[in-house]
Structures are given as structure tokens and as C-alpha cells.
Symmetry: D2
């Protein structure tokens, strides 16, 4: 037999790695910030890998992106201006643009190489979202952007790489950063962020949620299983109105009212699935009292 021989190996920790067969390499680029590859994985199909971590795959990106966007959106009343920080694939942008109430969606990404890469090779992700006339693309560090920003946003979505030591992104999970976010958020605005994995790094998941609570006065968390991440993935939200207590019926009705059709992951039943946190994770969250600060930031293990 011919064993499979072309592999992507993702390290979870120095004591664990997951290996996936690569069928072909579409494109490889090194930017100023990171190493980016688009490959065909036997299990997941076309997949974006940045610095050795699967970012998203064509076969299950809908889980992550729908989880990040829709629970927050349903809790808000006709938001008009959204800000996305990160999200180079354009898929978070795609989900946000489904809502007709938006007049402008600003997307700020630090790495134009990733954006060009996505525009050329990842139409299955962005589906033309970069060309939507409401879209305004800014290539800039998110922290810098927020420091200078004078505008107010009704929705701010943080679609970032994990807070790894020595990476720039760990600074986008601290109380200092969330204060900047708060300064740009409108009175009735809400935020969502990816919050790392409760399966691989419950510590960072828990601290991120607690840091948002510290800054915004409350936070809510949801979890979704993402096959390409081999684990539960966490999302943290702040909304002036509560997200998690929405009933199945309310979620399904709101989606219909807002004209959101064709979701593959999120609906009223999935809402329960996301926001009913298993007991052992709940206990962990309840006991959390740390916050991530610029002086003492939280990292995912490496």
C-alpha cells in the first residue's frame, strides 16, 4: 500500500499534535506578519493555515462564522454601523452583510497579504463581500485604528488569531483593548469575539470572558464544536440586551423577520446548544476572577 505522505501537522501543545493529509498546495505566501498557506486537506477540503494553525476550512467555516455573528445580531435592534477587526477571509463580513439594516461595515485587518490572498483564492468564503458597496476595508493594526477612531459603531466583532505569546494578537484580548472598543461602541451597541477553545485552553476562554465582564459590566459565552479545530470553540459577547436567554421560538422568529435565510449552523435549537454550557465548563467559568491586562496578559498554551 502507499501510505499518505504529504501532511499538515498542527501542534496543540508540545505534547499533542494532529496530522491531516494535504492533497495539494494552492498557494503559499509569507507576509510581514505571518506565514499563510491555502491547501486542500483530504478531510476538510480547501483550508487556510496561518502560522501552522488551521484558520478555517471550506467544509465547516460556517460554524465558526455563524456563531461569531448571529447570536449578537439578533440581540440588537437594527444596527447601522459595524466594525470587524481581523477576519481576513471575508466570511465574517459576509455574515454581517446579510443584515439589511447596516449602512456601513468597516473591516480592519493588519495584513494586506492575507486580504489579497483571500480575494484571489477564497471566493467560497467571502462570496463577493469585499465588493459590497457598504464594505469599507482598512489595512491597519486594530489597536491603532481604534485609538484614532472618532466614529461610533453599533456592532464591533473581533475575529482574531489566538492570543499566542510573542504574537501581536494577544494585545487584542486585554482590558486596555476592550476599553478602546468600548470607547468606539454606541450606546446600544454590542460586541462579540472569538474566545479560544474551552477544550484546549479553558484558562484563556475563561479569562477573556471575565475581562469583558470587567470592562462592560457583563458578558455571555457560547460554545460551538468546530470539526477542523477538533474541539469546542468559545465565543464571548457583550450586548445591552441579553443573548443567551432567547428561546428557540424567538431566535427562529427573529431570523425570519430579519430575512436571514440559508444558515447552515445557527437556528433556535442550535442557540440552545451554544448557550447551554456543560457543567464542568460552567463551574470553571464561575470561579474565574482573573482579567487579562496589558501588564499581565492571558495566552493560549504553546
Amino acid at each position: 500500500m502507499i501510505y499518505r505522505w504529504h501532511w499538515f501537522i498542527e501542534w496543540q501543545t508540545p505534547s499533542e499534535f494532529h496530522a491531516h493529509e494535504i492533497e495539494r498546495v494552492y498557494q503559499e505566501q509569507k507576509s510581514k506578519y505571518q506565514e499563510v498557506k491555502l491547501v486542500e486537506l483530504t478531510r476538510f477540503g480547501k483550508s487556510l493555515i496561518i502560522d501552522g494553525k488551521i484558520q478555517s476550512t471550506v467544509s465547516d467555516e460556517f460554524i465558526y462564522h455563524e456563531s461569531l455573528v448571529h447570536p449578537l445580531m439578533l440581540s440588537l435592534r437594527d444596527p447601522e454601523r459595524a466594525l470587524i477587526i481581523g477576519g481576513g477571509e471575508g466570511a465574517t463580513l459576509r455574515e454581517v452583510l446579510r443584515y439589511n439594516s447596516f449602512k456601513e461595515v468597516v473591516m480592519v485587518d493588519i495584513d494586506d497579504v492575507v486580504i489579497e490572498f483571500a480575494k484571489k483564492y477564497m471566493a467560497q468564503w467571502h462570496k463577493g463581500a469585499f465588493e459590497d458597496k457598504r464594505t469599507k476595508l482598512v489595512i491597519e493594526d486594530g489597536i491603532e485604528y481604534l485609538r484614532k477612531n472618532k466614529d461610533e459603531f453599533d456592532v464591533i466583532i473581533l475575529d482574531l488569531t489566538d492570543p499566542m505569546k510573542d504574537s501581536p494578537s494577544y494585545k487584542l484580548y486585554t482590558s486596555t483593548f476592550y476599553e478602546l472598543v468600548k470607547d468606539s461602541l454606541s450606546h446600544n451597541g454590542g460586541i462579540s469575539t472569538q474566545a479560544t477553545s474551552p477544550s484546549f485552553s479553558i484558562d484563556s476562554f475563561s479569562v477573556i470572558s471575565n475581562t469583558i465582564r470587567h470592562v462592560f459590566g457583563k458578558s455571555e459565552v457560547g460554545v460551538s464544536f468546530v470539526p477542523a479545530f477538533d474541539g469546542l470553540w468559545g465565543f464571548a459577547f457583550y450586548s445591552p440586551n441579553s443573548i443567551s436567554p432567547m428561546s428557540q421560538e424567538r431566535v427562529d422568529r427573529l431570523l425570519e423577520e430579519k430575512g436571514i435565510n440559508g444558515l447552515q449552523y445557527y437556528d433556535g435549537t442550535t442557540h440552545y446548544s451554544m448557550f447551554s454550557i456543560p457543567k464542568y465548563i460552567r463551574k470553571y467559568l464561575e470561579n474565574e476572577n482573573r482579567i487579562s491586562t496589558d501588564d499581565n496578559p492571558i495566552y493560549v498554551p504553546a
Copy 2:
């Protein structure tokens, strides 16, 4: 640096494997049926591996075993006699014995090597359950046992290895086998079975559920994320009373009434988590019309 060098590699398919560092090997045995090793994994601690697959680990076995047992138990009214097929670690037995209504719990496992192994080295799993005076241990093939059995059971729990081609266990997931189970089930009795992973083998998960529906008239499924399996795990149930619609309050009250304390995973909120199936999995299940038969059995991919 010294890289980690002693590894357990679990193959999900020929195109995917997950590797975990082994800190030490407690015991290795080959039985007539399978190769059994008990190792210390850096991430999960003491872990049972059979034929290259993690069966359960001391740090998260509670998720699988509580999922398999408690949702079914809460739906039944004071069952007195239980049958467990498989479950060599003794942890399913441990969870069943929490219910005082039981007068006898028969556990049938094909491999006495695994049982002796568990008795000696895996007290953290069975916690003395093999010594409970209600426990009756039978070393026998489950199919043979059911063929000869004249007794009636109020609960039958199938805690089996996956239905792999060329393994004996795939025969314990077919309509023929479930008919045998039905013949030994009391009028008000219910069953549960592990139902493979919706993440790695949604096919077998879906067919197992449908085969139970075919034989028993209905079936219900739940899913739990198990870290050591790196995926969602599926469970299929038949109960004369419905399991999934129980409210959080009802689950929590029933656990209290039955004196079930100290669960780490399952409670009223986790119940919603288990039985609120994400939309894309639900769609898959709804379209399933195959059943597993002795002539045309379902397998997990290999």
C-alpha cells in the same frame, strides 16, 4: 530542547491522526480479542487504549459515562434490573449503581482480560463497583448471552467498542441484534448505546439511530463533546417515555429526588446541551433512511 519522544498515535482515518505524549506505560496485555494498554498521557493522565483507540481517560471519562447512563435513567420509573453489555472499565456500572431502585445489575463483557486489568489498575473508574453485591459479572459474548437469556431487564445499556470492519462489535449495532435486545427488555424498559461520533463518522451515528427507531418504533439522540475523542460523541436512546423534551428544572429535580449527587457533567443545563443538536447534524439525521443489518452492517471508516 528535548522534544517529546514517546507517543500514542490514534488514527482517525488513513488521512488523519492525533498524537499524544505518553509519560509512562502502566500495563500492556494482549487478550484473545484485543490489545490493551494502560498509559499515562501528558494531557489526559491515566488512559485506557484498546487496539489503538483511546477508550477513556481518568480526566474526562465522566462525560461519556454520565451521558450514556443518566438521561435514560431519569426517563424511567424505578427500574430494578439492568443489563450492561461491554463497559469493561466498570464506570458505566458505577453510574448505574448510583440508583437505589436497582436490585440486580448484570454486566456482560466478552474479555476477562480487560476486566482483570480494570479491577487491578483502574479503581478510579470502577470505584469498587465490581464488589457491589447487586453486581453480577458474566464473561461472555453479548449476542450469545442475549440469545440464551430468559430474564427481563428494565434497562439495557450497550457500552461497546466502535463498529469496525473485521471487529466482532459491529454485530452489536444491527437490527438483528436490537431485536435480541428488545426480546430481553421489560414492557417499560429503555435502552441506551454509544452511537459513534457525529464529527468523525456521522454516517454510522445516523444509521445507528435509525436502526433503533426501526426496531423500537422511535429513538432519541444526544451528543456530548469528549476531549479525549477530539470530537462530539453520539448516544442513542429508546425510552417508552421521552427523554429529550425534559426541561432543565425537571432534570435537576429528578436527579435530586433520586439522590444522584456529585455528577460532574450532567445536569439540567447540560441536558439541553446534549439534546439540542446543531442544525447541520439534525438535517443529516432527518434524511437518514438506511438501517444496519447483519447482511449490510454499518461500519466506522478505517
Copy 3:
């Protein structure tokens, strides 16, 4: 830290694999016969991989190709016509063309995809050899070519992939095939073939040598360590004049006389290294009495 994550994994047997980091993929192609990839390996640089086996790398291909060609050539007196079967990279051709006595060198390779691939991307191997006016390139199965061939060759060199079960190439290591070779060899002609690895498959190395002895009346073997193969590599020769007893001085003088300059591996001292077989391998060879036949061919383990 960022662990390396893009890997080539070569399986030696089901119980052993060697993994090399891939820095980039230059080109991937599937031909009618095999899967061909040209990659940049961190350790070896540009490397040709066919069906999951490293064929040669830019940093050490000289060892294999010089070993295959020069010991045989020095034993022959002014050969004029050479036949190479296999050798798609063009590096064996490059080494043969160093000898001015040749008037024609016919190269027969089954797979034109490999040839086109080599012409475009592997100039460091062929160094223009395909354009030499003495070169005649034939795309055809080597067995077919020899069956129809009426010409006589003074040198026949077999530069083939390993004899793997279910591959076409195992038929090019049998007594039937060597009889075909003999039919096309001139009276004073000699042959060489790669003979698999004495480190990984001493069985096939030994049987190939013995099969040549059976057909041609005698055989000689040499071994060279090839870093990219992580083992000793074997070469088997038949020459009407003896190869191995040549002294260091004679080898160095012949190279000079024939105008062969700039070799990186082979010279008089290396000759001793190649033909002084370590004792335990010698013993194995001495006891060999099997021959590879079309009915009962030898394979490398898989």
C-alpha cells in the same frame, strides 16, 4: 514557539517513518503511472518525491548517480553506445555523457510527465543533458523497448524505482528481464542497476545481486550511504572485466585519463568505501541462493 507544520512523511515499513519539513511545494503532478511532487525540504533543499518516496535531492543526488555510473564505466574500454532505462531526472544521463567515447545514449523512461517535469524544474539535475546531441529520448516501457530492440549496447544502466508489490517496476529486477538485457548487450558490454537498500531491505539487495549472477555468470555489488535515503544504498554490476578489485591508484588514474573531472563522491578512496562490504552484509550475500523470477519476484517490504 512555532513548531514546524508542513511535512513530508516517508514510510519505510508500516512500523517506521521518517518525517522531513517541507518549506515549499514547487510543483505537483499526477501522471498515468505515479504521483510526482517537487518540494523544498529544509534539510535537503529541492527534492523529487514519487509516490511518497524521495527519489533524489539536489544536495546529495551526486552520491547515487556517481555510484551507479562510474565504477562500471571505468571497467569498460571506450564504450560507444549506452542505454539508460528509467532515470527521469536526467542525472544518470548527465554522468554517462561525461565520457567522450559515447556516440549515442538512449534513455527510455515510461513516464513523459516526469521527463517534462524534470526538463522544466530540475536543471540542477540534468544540466542540459537532454539537449546533448548524443541523447536519444524514448518514452516507452523498458520491457517493451528491449523486446523490440535489435541494437547492441555497450552499457546498460537500470535507474529504476524500487521493486514494490503492485508497481510496474518489480518486473525489471527478474531473471526474465535480465535475459532481455543480456540480449541487447554487446560482447564486451556491462550493466549496472540500483539494487535497493542493504539497510532497509537486505533481502531484495541480496536477491537482485544473485539474480544478475545467475543470468550473467557473475555479479559485483557496491554500497554507498545516501543521506536522503537514511541508509546504505546498494548497486549491482556485471562487467566482463572486474570492477571491485581496482586499486585506488588505478581508479584515480583512469578518471584522469578519461577526462572525468569534478566528481563530488567517487574517486579511488571512495571506490574502496563502496566495494569493501561490512562483514555482516557480506555473510548475508554469501548465503544467498534465491533468484527473482517473473513467477516469484522479489519485492521491497511495504
Copy 4:
């Protein structure tokens, strides 16, 4: 199929690893200095692993140990006192004790855990050598031993782990250390040391040889292919009489005269194999002018 799942993974560099199936673990121990495991590898049988590196295997340890001992011994005239530093398995001791001229063989190893381990489980290596009445075993750091030593030795053999950064053993490859060795060497005495791999770390091989030349006035090197190391292995020697120019006939006659029977690797022909260094390695050695010093020591890559 059941894929192999219990693996030893040896890292050559961060960009390369070799994986071997483990059939069973005989014994695992952590000493004050290192982590020691004795395992059964499918390819090599019983194998000693220290800090993630294969030290020797039952199926090919004879290559390394015969290479380290016999070329040096044949060049000396009836040595009476030998010192071995390192060599915990007892196999170097075994080879040295073959020579009847020895009246005392002192073996100095830093780690008594390894010695006890070898005595109990590795009889196939030491074959009772620890019980020979000429053997004197000292548990002590080799540097300390030499500093205090007042005796003279006719043979000093350095059988050490590789000079890895942050390991203690890199200090046993420097000019300072070799001066200590020289102080304890008798007028007609000679030394040998393992000299790391010309395949994986030609740098350290070359520098070790040059450092010996610097201290002793000359050095000679030999290479042997060791299957369990997947590469050529280097040995460096100093002898007042030359080793490498010995003819095949002389080597075979000396072995007979000294009553050395039953070697599996070394004889007159293998002598040529060891000391005929391939051209590209020879060139590298010729250009070496660095020496390893305590201030600026050479390391193997990690």
C-alpha cells in the same frame, strides 16, 4: 486495518524526525541525570533510549561497539590497563575484555541508575562483563575522575552521549578535556571516542577530530553505518602507531593472533570500509580548522 499506534519518535533536528513502532516497554526510569527507557522496537528489538535518543539496539549494537574498540586495539602492543568513560550498557567493556593482555579495565560512568538498569535487563549487551574480575566499576563524573587520577592507562575509550547543548557531556569533547585524557595516558597509549554522525552533524564530527589532532598531534577517523542511527557514525582515534593504513591481511592476522573470534562487524575488509572516507566528507575534514574548547564548545544541532 489497525495502524501502528505506539511510537518512539526521535528528533534529529526541529525539521526532521524518525518514528519507530514500540512493541512493549520493558522498563522506564528517571535518574538524576537523564530519562532512561528500555523498549522493544518492531524493527530493532530490545533498544535503550536515553533522553529521546536511541543509544543502542540488540540487533546492531555490535557495529558501534566493535568500531569503537577494535581498530584502536589492533594498533597497540599488549596494553595492560584500560579506562572506559561512559558506556553504561557494558558492551564496550565486553569488547575490551576480549583482549587477554588486560590486567585491569576501569569503567567510569556518571549514572548508577543506568548501570543497575543494564545489569538487570541488558545481559545481551554486557554478557557478564561487569562480573569479570579485571573490571573495576566507578560511579563518578569522568572529568572529576581524570582530575584526581594518578594512574596511567594504555587505552582510554570515550563512549559518551552526544555533545548536546545544556547536557553535561559536551564538556567531554573539548581540548581541555582531551588534555586531561592525555595526562592519564601512558607513553604508548591510544584513545578512541565516538565522534557523532557525519550524516547529521558533520560539523561536530569534523571539529572533534580536529580537536584531538590539536591536543595529541594527530588523529584518525573511521565511519560505520549504524542502522538504528539511520546514518553514518563517526569515530576518532589517536594512536602512537597508525591505524588506518593497516592492510586487510594485517587486520585479519592480528585479530587471529590476539584470539579475537566471533566479531560480527569488524575484520580486514570492514577496516577498509571504515577508513576509506567518501570524498565529500574527506574534503570537509581537510578544511577544518576549528577546535572545541571549554569557552567555545562544539554541539550537535538541536
